[in-house]
């Protein structure tokens, strides 16, 4: 460490505080933010499982059966539940933030935030409905 010159009017000695490693625990909103950032890991997890599924599918019915059996093990069920909760948190928090990034103006007036959030949720519901329809149709 360098030796500081004595304090004078022309050599002010400023105090700089270090940011604590635990800064994200100091406020609830900070913790929420860090959790939201963490959700990306679980989104990636789902993507990997999906790729793994596609791979199993190309290897024939037997490999696909093994893949499905593995998904039913308690370890994967637990992992999937946790990942699903995080992805849900991811979706909800990001939907709620969309009006900040997207400012839509109609006839010179800003479309209210709740309309933009609502449209996102509506699109989500509609798409989920389509997926559910496709999955359940054959049953």
């Amino acid at each position: 460490m360098s030796i500081e010159p004595p304090y004078t009017l022309y050599h002010p000695r400023w105090y700089r505080r270090r940011v604590s490693v635990w800064w994200w625990l100091q406020k609830r909103s900070y913790t929420g933010f860090v959790l939201r950032e963490l959700t990306s890991v679980f989104v990636a997890f789902f993507a990997m499982v999906y790729l793994w599924q596609l791979h199993a599918l190309t290897q024939g019915p037997e490999a696909y059966g093994q893949f499905l059996a593995r998904l039913r093990t308690p370890l994967f069920l637990a992992l999937d539940t946790i990942a699903f909760l995080f992805v849900l948190f991811h979706a909800i928090t990001w939907f709620n933030l969309t009006p900040k990034a997207m400012v839509v103006r109609l006839r010179g007036k800003r479309v209210p935030d709740w309309v933009i959030v609502g449209l996102n949720y509506a699109a989500w519901l509609a798409l989920s409905g389509v997926v559910a329809f496709m999955l359940l149709r054959g049953r």
């Binding site: 304090y7 002010p12 940011v19 800064w23 900070y30 950032e37 933030l97 900040k100």
Partner: protein, 247 residues
């Protein structure tokens, strides 16, 4: 006996302390007092050595930003009554170097503010004789919110990204850049994009959103940054697909 409240203030006297300490003053509680009134009471009656910045007392000058009970606030607009029965803790803003007691140094922000060129840039200036640059109320409305910034630095103090990455240009400077980008009279968007889309610009922001929450003037810096990210990303895609069509 008239009611009193404990005011705990951070002290830092660089000529005799190497680290800040805390000092508690017992001050009279008045319903119509804001934290700044309490600090002025201390300075006038109890301890003249206490240093803090203030000027207008009405939320316009942006000088009296401090942390009150951990949250960045304009002390002239923060009533004691909201913190009763106390104690009330007053600290200097986070992430800026402390000069003395509650006074922080803002040189870093001033430098960054200048970098984003917060003024109207014209490719060719009109001669004054040709008159003003006209603007409709709707055009004014698109950026007016961002022009309300008073440079009080509460948003920087609320931004953990600025704390962790001091080179980040930061919420207020980006909101002010966006204020000029969205101004129909301005033609300097491309110049500002160079600075803002660099490493220390908009992409450092991971959208914590606290800057918007603490802003006393409802500027919404977080919104400004996300909107700018969207424009910057669409511009990039456009330049990729239509290299001839972006300028």
């Amino acid at each position: 006996m008239p009611p009193t409240v404990a005011l705990t203030v951070t002290r830092y006297r660089p000529e005799r302390e190497s680290e800040p300490t805390r000092q508690t003053y017992e001050i009279p509680y008045r319903k119509d007092w804001v934290v700044l009134d309490a600090l002025n009471h201390v300075k006038d009656n109890l301890d003249g050595s206490l240093s803090f910045r203030w000027s207008c007392r009405m939320g316009v000058c942006g000088s009296c930003g401090m942390k009150v009970n951990g949250t960045p606030k304009l002390t002239c607009a923060t009533f004691l009554s909201d913190y009763m029965p106390g104690p009330i803790r007053v600290e200097p803003l986070d992430y800026f170097p402390v000069v003395r007691d509650l006074v922080v140094d803002l040189t870093d922000f001033m430098r960054k503010l200048k970098q984003v060129k917060p003024w109207i840039i014209r490719k060719e200036e009109k001669a004054p004789a040709e008159g003003e640059y006209l603007q409709t109320p709707d055009q004014l409305d698109t950026y007016k919110q961002f022009s309300m910034c008073i440079n009080c630095m509460l948003c920087y103090s609320a931004c953990p990204i600025y704390g962790l990455e001091p080179s980040f240009i930061g919420p207020a400077a980006i909101a002010l850049a966006q204020r000029y980008n969205m101004d129909s009279r301005d033609e300097g968007k491309a110049e500002r994009l160079k600075i803002l889309s660099e490493h220390d610009g908009i992409w450092q922001c991971t959208f914590v959103g606290e800057c918007t929450k603490v802003c006393p003037k409802h500027v919404d810096p977080a919104g400004a940054i996300q909107q700018y990210k969207l424009t910057s990303a669409t511009d990039w895609v456009k330049s990729l697909l239509l290299p001839w069509g972006t300028r």
